[in-house]
């Protein structure tokens, strides 16, 4: 099954431009809050109406501004898991799930399917409870059961773990991932959490200021983010303006150092990123002298801030993270970085409009 989206929508000063396609498996939409992730999902579900473009699911046109097609949400057959799960408070678990089964007219089949859903989601013992009597995880399972009961052709998850306690999150991420793998569906998952996206998604589309960069395989995105926005969202802490010197060498202007890269550079290189984990005192490549600024202790890691010797005064300190057992006795005079870990960054192909991010996700 395949989802194709190419939509534009303006909301005041904010404008959304999302063009991508995805197939079965989990595709992440990763972006800061207010970048238009939820709005994209709502346009696909039919809750919001794009200004122009088209949305096609399994060859069915859900929206096409040129052909004046705009199916109501009821006819789109898309499942939407809301951030707060949106369970109906006046109905118990069983009645909530039955709401997803109203299209099924055969009473026997309906009953059968309901029992199956209750069992699959381990809700059989809870079926008479109201939503407010359930834990966060149970609410999530109920909402999913209700959606799956309606047999959607596409599943959309809007920050599915944000309403849960931190200690439950990882456990539920694993459970949900296992469940979603058994379904033969395209799944779109909105998140602002890089770890969550990395665990769950086969490919990730990065979103910033309403502009969506089409999905790339997760590992590839993390090892070569390609743009400043993708680099930031995948958790890279150190960025400097940069210019190309030769095919395999660049100059990091803010840090006053030259770095060799593993892959050939393009001429429009504008920034370079280095992840805080990848500095190494004994690495032979790309060595440069450094000065210690301060350090901070975390439960399992040290976070050290330092500057290069020829660093621009106005530019920010660099971050270095290392496991506690690898912490040297003395702060090294030089650090190195493997060429493969130097991340060259280029301008985004089509920039989204700069806008007030608070505006977007409402």
């Amino acid at each position: 099954m395949r989802l194709e989206v190419d939509i534009q929508k303006a909301l005041g000063a904010f404008s959304l431009h999302a063009s991508f396609s995805c197939e079965n498996g989990i595709t992440g939409l990763l972006g800061p809050s207010g970048c238009g992730k939820s709005l994209t999902l709502k346009c696909i579900a039919g809750i919001e109406r794009p200004d122009k473009g088209r949305i096609v699911l399994d060859g069915r046109t859900l929206f096409d501004s040129e052909k004046h097609i705009c199916l109501p949400p009821q006819a789109r057959n898309t499942g939407y898991l809301f951030q707060n799960y949106a369970l109906f408070p006046n109905m118990n678990v069983r009645q909530n799930i039955l709401c997803g089964l109203r299209k099924e007219k055969d009473r026997k089949k309906k009953e059968q399917f309901l029992e199956e859903m209750l069992r699959l989601m381990q809700l059989t013992d809870l079926q008479r409870l109201r939503p407010h009597q359930l834990s966060g995880g149970q609410q999530q399972r109920t909402a999913l059961a209700r959606i799956l009961a309606s047999r959607p052709a596409l599943l959309m998850l809007d920050e599915p773990f944000s309403a849960l306690d931190a200690h439950l999150r990882l456990k539920l991420q694993i459970e949900l991932k296992d469940l979603l793998h058994t379904l033969d569906l395209p799944v779109l998952m909105v998140t602002h959490d890089r770890d969550e996206a990395y665990h769950m998604c086969r490919s990730i589309a990065v979103m910033d200021h309403g502009f969506l960069i089409p999905p790339r395989p997760t590992k590839e995105l993390f090892s070569d983010p390609g743009s400043l926005c993708a680099s930031r969202l995948t958790g890279c802490k150190n960025h400097s303006r940069a210019r190309k010197i030769s095919e395999y060498e660049l100059e990091a202007l803010d840090w006053g150092i030259r770095l060799r890269t593993a892959k050939p550079l393009r001429d429009d290189l504008c920034m370079v990123g280095i992840r805080a984990h990848y500095f190494h005192p004994s690495c032979r490549d790309n060595r440069f002298p450094v000065t210690f600024v301060r350090e901070m202790e975390e439960p399992f890691e040290w976070v050290i801030q330092f500057r290069t010797d020829r660093q621009e005064k106005s530019s920010e300190n660099l971050w270095w993270r290392l496991p506690k057992d690898r912490r040297p006795q003395q702060f090294p005079e030089e650090l190195g970085i493997a060429p493969v870990n130097v991340l060259p960054l280029y301008p985004e192909e089509t920039g989204g409009t700069e806008a007030d991010p608070a505006f977007a996700e409402k």
Binding site: G46, Q74, A75, T78, F88, C99, R102, K103, R128, S150
Partner: protein, 236 residues
């Protein structure tokens, strides 16, 4: 004069009670649907129109009821266009008991409308959106999800509207006057009896009114308690 004696006097009739109750009940039912309908409609209007419609619907709440009654006479008076047009079909709202329904609805509607609108506005719209993506019809969503979620507010609105309709005096007395046995309601009767120095009679109808109000409020409290208990019983 004792209450029991008053009831057994020759001219006594329970008519004002019966008349008040039927006017209040019918008005409440009308106000219920009109209030919900207008609240629902207004919540979907664009901002500017919303302000205007909202003001018009709320106006009877801040106007003196006699002014509302005056406007109603302007509309339904037998020599006015609408009044004349209705008269062709034998409908007359002036000096008839069912004219009391018109005046009660006019005065009580803003109470229902405003409480219902408040409830609708605090309604979590993701519930409706979730219903839509699940394929539920908009009618189903309205009556089975939106209304139950707003139940508290709507119940409060209908109680306020009923109490207001029952106690309506100003607009009602303007439009339908006071004719014993035909248009007299409890509130117009109280005024009439007091004006004619029938203190025991006035007091009697005051107590009747108090009793009805007390019963209504108690019933509402009981209903709320029962709902709370029902929720608790399901708790693990």
């Amino acid at each position: 004069m004792h209450m029991a004696e008053y009831v057994s006097t020759a001219g006594f009739s329970w008519f004002p009670l019966w008349n008040s109750l039927r006017i209040a009940l019918i008005s409440s039912i009308l106000v219920f649907f009109l209030g919900i309908f207008s609240a629902h409609l207004v919540s979907r209007l664009p901002k500017v129109v919303k302000g205007i419609v909202d003001a018009v619907l709320t106006l009877p709440m801040v106007l003196p009821p006699t002014v509302c009654g005056y406007f109603l006479i302007l509309i339904f008076g037998v020599r006015r266009p609408i009044g004349q047009w209705l008269a062709q079909y034998g409908i007359r709202f002036v000096m008839t008991w069912y004219g009391g329904i018109i005046s009660s609805v006019t005065v009580a509607l803003p109470l229902m409308y405003r409480t219902a609108r408040g409830a609708f506005e605090s309604f979590d719209s993701t519930l409706a959106q979730a219903g839509q993506t699940l394929g539920l019809s908009n009618t189903y969503i309205f009556w089975r999800i939106r209304m139950p979620a707003c139940r508290q507010g709507i119940l409060a609105g209908i109680v306020l509207a009923f109490a207001r309709a029952l106690g309506e005096y100003g607009a009602t007395s303007m439009l339908i006057g006071y004719t014993p046995g035909r248009t007299a309601t409890i509130s117009t009767t109280v005024y009439q009896l007091w004006r004619t120095n029938d203190e025991a009679g006035a007091m009697f109808w005051v107590l009747v009114n108090l009793a009805i109000s007390a019963v209504v409020l108690l019933a509402v409290n009981l209903l709320e308690d029962r709902q709370k208990k029902a929720v608790k019983q399901h708790a693990p």
